[in-house]
Symmetry: C3
Subunit: 372 residues, 3 copies
């Protein structure tokens, strides 16, 4: 006989809740004929295979750990402890440093297979640090100090640090859920011989080819600003973000400012379905008429414009204007199928197609997903 | 107070069942005196230390993940999602591509410490792909298309693919459980500069020495045929398999066909015990009189003939005639001890013993196992 | 509805209990100005992020697996099966080889962030092997044979082995819990070209700099002797250990004997609190007045003297006299904060500070910990 237990409650009240996800991708990336790259064309991969464990510890404490095996090796994502006191929550360990709405929304719930181009391009990733969040009703502010990702911290000569802050106002006005926010990020590389690099794949992760790529260049600091807005009204949603990355360079070198931004909107074709919003993030879509109850599940179409400019000062990483459409079928609460097409218009690119520095790339992607 | 819960049932009906295994091996491999290899002699290792998680997702879906740490690092085995509709089951992600009865039988339940020589020699391993299985009563057919193992897929230039199909007929005739089946496998390496290699250890995994070894040679495709038969009648079981591996080579090079086959039979010395067969595979032996209920557990003796021929065309990988005997003690449902002796007669070998290309090798192995 | 289940009991009585820990450290190591090492100064890290699984298997068997991700990769700690028969317990797989009281006490429960210097310096780590323990009332003896750590065993040419034995007498005299013990360890490196190396960090793990370091030197065997004593009386505890490491070297080379020892004592400032002792090891402190029940938790101060001499024969690894004080706050059963200061006096060191081979180093460390 099976009991209904959503979590294991150990002796003395400590709980243990496992969770995980599995995403299998396939895709085609079609570049200009002049670029001969065997990494283009058809490819497929396990995009994410993750297991995690989280729980409560009496006294207001908690923990969360999550690892991914999709690289054929182990990558550690979240690894933090938590303390909640009233409306404030404190986190210590590896966690996200408040980069923006889409980055903080789980990859299980995004509208496209990959997040907007600037999120990877500007190196958003979890870092080890200490943060605090204060949330009251429809307003939230969060901030923290971080060092670096656990992988990079293995080198004990790594003395980089960052300070990050973000605020969100998310009122419910009538039937509409609104979300506006902004964030600011400062990072010191803090080492004698620092370089950085910004680059991005062509909207799909199945290829490792990056047309957009600044290459390594010397840098000492980053100052980033993000703005974000979103709205959910019934079947419709909108989400828009912008991010400026200002890079401090040594001595006489000119400091570039790179920019990325995206805007998406989506519509559920199935009645009663809507994009769920919880805890200042997008959350799980639960179909009104799921497949296992005789329904069709939820079907959603999305459009996105995704801009990224990695050209400034004497750095040339390319300019992207990408247009994408996706179809997302959510048969049940824990399953999802995605199909998407993207058209990237590239200008002033560092990789030439023959003698041309502007050209177009197309991609088609598919994803199957389960989570638990 | 402890409830009896075989699995965690999370909110909304998703279940979570952990499982694992631990196998600790020791062995001696004794080669000819003329071969001076410090990897021979006594050795021991943790053969497998695995943890996995599987569960059901409402609507007929499921998931399974399993990882192994025995290499001192992480290796991903199963990582797939599943959908069952009536008598059909679909799998997407990394899973086995229907290689044959012994390969598909869990390593917890095989009659010898290692499977027949051809299974490793011909590179059987899980691959990422999509498959379907249709099973009705005592007949089953399964097929799928696969790319490559997750590790190999890390290189996005990897465009290899395979198509695999298998069928099994497993009638129960009187008291006898029969099993006959066949499979066919086609793989394109699909890269400009492809090589492959077939090799195998001397019946034990504790050594990394492979006497049987074709070395790398250029190849473009593989076409494999497998035949399999098995029977369980009371205390007695028989299992036999053969596999032909035809290798396509570029241009004017001759295409070799390699061959492996094995036949084993076993007998339980303890009354009431039998080899269990379930889902077209061998399954867990549950002793009729387990140690924890005052019995002795189940004791089984097995004999095996294990042939492998890696010599064809201009490729010389050696010929193996191996004779093995094992004693398997299963004290309780979840514990197992194995002791085995193997004699390998090697002919036309690539590694010489002095000036001789034929010689014999002996090995003695032991394994202790628990699983859950 | 949540049931209170401390473990998952699978079908047929096999149990599954997950457990884990998370420790986040920060620290400053201040060396002499003449040593310019970017690994000194401020650093922080996730010291341990671990998940493990253990359980019982009917018939007196059990299993335990534990992995750590803090290195950014996977490291396997415990991986063993167990069999209990009356007062005897047998373990097979990777486990600790009875090095001494502090090494065997969980890192969750030590009085300082790092164990005494000799424990890492002499290479204490889990190894694959077979051991037996016999415990009766307040007396225990344990012994085993081991090969090497799983990582090192990947090389099948590794033929090293060790034999280890230890005994402890732990009577309760009135209110006082006493502990005295001794252990002996013999290891053959058993390879043609063996080298070893003994080294240690300056009391904190956040830096990878080791002032104490013999460098590699040729060696064929190790013979180690350990003595250990401890006492708990109400709020007060004492723990002292010594370890002699005698190293056999090839042929005419002189055999050095290195020595390490430490003595610590601690006092709880909060009434009703004491260091817990169970199973011949220190165990979890459970505050008499935990934070989540309106109390302050348990507050403990500790002092330690930590000596290590890596200079003998013609080997010069340095001499350490370290003095440390720690403040340990245990708000609740499963949370812990540590603050400590150490002063290391180094003599006859292999790393010079300018022209000086003796100098002092200071460190300040902090740790936040949760476990489950």
């Amino acid at each position: 006989t099976v009991s209904q237990v959503p979590e294991l409650t150990k002796k003395d009240g400590v709980t243990f809740t496992p969770f995980g996800r599995l995403q299998v991708d396939a895709g085609i990336v079609n570049g200009p004929d002049e670029i001969n790259d065997p990494g283009l064309g058809f490819a497929h991969e396990i995009r994410r295979v993750r297991i995690g464990f989280k729980g409560d510890i009496p006294g207001g404490f908690g923990y969360k750990m999550e690892v991914d095996f999709a690289s054929g090796d182990l990558d550690l994502y979240d690894a933090y402890m938590e303390y909640a006191a009233g409306d404030a929550t404190f986190k210590l360990g590896q966690h996200n440093n408040f980069q923006g709405l889409e980055e903080l929304t789980s990859s299980r719930f995004t509208s496209f297979m990959e997040r907007a181009a600037f999120t990877d391009a500007f190196g958003f990733e979890r870092k080890v640090g200490l943060s605090a969040e204060y949330a009251k009703a429809d307003w939230m502010v969060q901030g923290g100090v971080f060092s670096d990702n656990l992988e990079n911290l293995q080198l004990d000569e790594n003395n980089s640090w960052s300070a990050d802050a973000r605020t969100v106002y998310a009122p419910k006005i009538g039937e509409a859920q609104l979300h506006i926010g902004g964030s600011v990020h400062y990072r010191e590389f803090n080492d004698a011989s620092d370089v950085t690099r910004y680059r991005q794949r062509p909207e799909l992760h199945v290829t490792d080819t990056r047309f957009m790529d600044t290459g390594n260049f010397s840098a000492t600091s980053e100052l980033g600003y993000g703005l974000e807005a979103a709205a959910v009204l019934g079947r419709f949603h909108f989400e828009g973000e912008t991010f400026w990355q200002h890079v401090g360079r040594p001595a006489a070198l000119a400091d570039p400012t790179f920019f990325g931004g995206s805007a998406e909107m989506g519509l559920f074709l199935t009645s009663g379905d809507k994009r769920s919003y919880k805890g200042f993030k997008f959350d799980r879509v639960k179909p009104a008429h799921p497949l296992d109850q005789g329904g069709f599940g939820a079907l959603q179409v999305n459009l996105r414009y995704d801009y990224l400019d990695l050209n400034d000062a004497d750095i040339r990483g390319g300019i992207q204007n990408a247009y994408a459409a996706s179809l997302v079928w959510t048969p049940t609460d824990f399953t999802r199928l995605m199909l998407e097409y993207s058209r990237m218009e590239y200008d002033d690119m560092p990789i030439l197609a023959g003698t041309q520095d502007d050209y177009g790339v197309d991609s088609i992607g598919m994803r199957a997903q389960v989570d638990f």
